[in-house]
Amino acid sequence: MAQTVLLVEDNPADAQAVCRELAAQPNAPTVEIATSAAEAEARLALGGVWAVVLDLGLPDADGMASLVRVRAADPEIPVVVFTGADAELEGPEAIEHGAEDYLVKGIHGGRAILRALRYAAERSRTRRLIAEQHSIVRSVLDSLADGVVVVEPDGRVRLSNPAARELLGWRQRESTQNPWLLADQATPLPDADRPLARAARGDVADDLLMFVPGEDGGRWLSANIRPMHGRSGGVAVLRDVTAKKADEGRIRRLNSRLGAEVAERSRALEKLEAADRLKEQFLDVVSHELRTPLTPILGYTRLLLRRGGVGLTPAQKEGIELIQESAKRLYGVVDGMLDFQQLRAHGVGGGDEATHVDSLFHRLEEMARRRLGDGDVSLAFRLDDDLPETLVLDAAHTQKVLERLVENAILFTEEGFVRVEARLDEAAGRLVVDVRDSGVGIDAAHHELVFGAFYQVEAAHTRKHGGLGLGLAHARYMAEALGGIIRLESAPGVGSTFTLEVPARTLEDV
């Protein structure tokens, strides 16, 4: 289909001449004629025109005014103007006003006209493409959340997107000054090292921090900078990291507080461990210092009492026997202390063995009777009928635990009874021993405390009842080391029941 050229020409003779010239060309375009600017506008509004050939002297628009009206009617259409005698003046002016080219009437023939039109069409198409590209780039830049700034080597801003202007507090899209120096002046860096200055030099770098002061306290931006392709200057892409920096600050503060707490705790732990070591050393030394003088005390009393204490008066003999009994008790306390210390440090060694149950309780009873003496407290042992003759258990340690429970009961009972009752919980595989007394009793609030080392119900009891206050702590340690437990039921004035449960199997179970 032939292309349509609109010839805007009020002189019919000139119009005819152009039509003739063009018609003589191969692939000639169709020529339509408008005789005024108004007519041209009307025709262009209909569309389908490929190019315009415009005479600059029209009845309704003289000179450049006609060009302006045609351009306004169709900004895209290629326009070639016909100038008169002063072509060298009019031609360039026309091009400034949007014409693609100019021809001189009467000199340029059909061939030149057609060629000018084709070039004009091509230039127009190129201009459209550039505008389109520009529009795409602009749309992309406008839609970015990150700020984009193109800076020239001298620091002028060639281009910026709305996000950049928002981040940097600029009003203008481009600038002939150095507004980035203003924006960047608070960044704690030498001028030449500031991100936008480096971008202007064409450096490549990521995550450069810059500070932009503002009424809201300013903001921190992270800048990635790249050189331009094929030209000098550079691009900076900016992101607001104020919140992230604040978070980092918070995290740093939290971390440093956490670190301080950890350090404090480990210091406290070290102190505790040091205190524990000191306690162990103390017990070690005390145990040694108590044992040493016991040798002559126990030894001489024993020597004096040999062969029934021949040569001693009854009163002397009784006195020496009391010394001996006291020394043995002291020995027991010292031994208990050592056991306690050993237990804390190493636990109990495996010591399950087939044990004659009656013998175990018989030994316990003998110990209890010796300790009880001739007081007002009755002592009773009741072994359950179903208790087997022989059980497999850690007899040595079980006996030690029971001794301490019985000693404790005797210590705190002035009248009434101390009763030991034993049975087997076969399903649970445990020997269960209740040690009941009618002694002072313990308030429920103190039930856990009595198992602490060096504890007694009241400080006054320490004098009255004696003892180191290690017995129950020791007993519980030992019971738990054996895989058992000690329970307590007690109330002041009612007496106490300590119940020991330790693992025990019948011979059939083994």
Partner: protein, 123 residues
């Protein structure tokens, strides 16, 4: 009895030393005593003991060093007699090369058993 080699008690603590010496005598064995290991070393050749009862912690020469020094001068068994009785102490003591361990407080029965063991030939 006078021809028997004595038991040498080495202990810096006077009451212990005196008791052990007396108890050994009462049990029918000749006894001698020294208050430090250094003193014992000087007297060893003249005394020629049949058994040395050696304290572990003493002023001057002590512990494993004392055990080795004594054993270097006599063929008599050396029994360490100490109030350091915990398993850790006991292990260290038995590793010193001594021949026996007698924990304090020493009971007369323990002492008698120990003497009987080392002088088993006695009536």
């Amino acid at each position: 009895m006078t021809t028997a080699r004595p038991v040498l008690v080495v202990d810096d603590e006077p009451t212990n030393r005196r008791f052990l010496e007396a108890a050994i005598g009462a049990l029918g064995y000749p006894a001698a005593a020294a208050s430090t290991a250094d003193e014992a070393l000087k007297r060893l050749p003249a005394l020629d003991p049949g058994l040395v009862l050696l304290d572990w912690r003493m002023p001057g020469l002590e512990g494993a060093d004392a055990v080795r020094a004594v054993k270097a001068l006599t063929d008599a068994p050396v029994v360490v007699c100490t109030a350091f009785v915990g398993p850790a102490h006991r292990e260290r003591i038995l590793a010193s090369g001594c021949d026996g361990f007698l924990p304090k407080p020493v009971t007369l029965d323990d002492l008698e058993d120990m003497l009987a063991q080392w002088f088993s030939a006695r009536p």
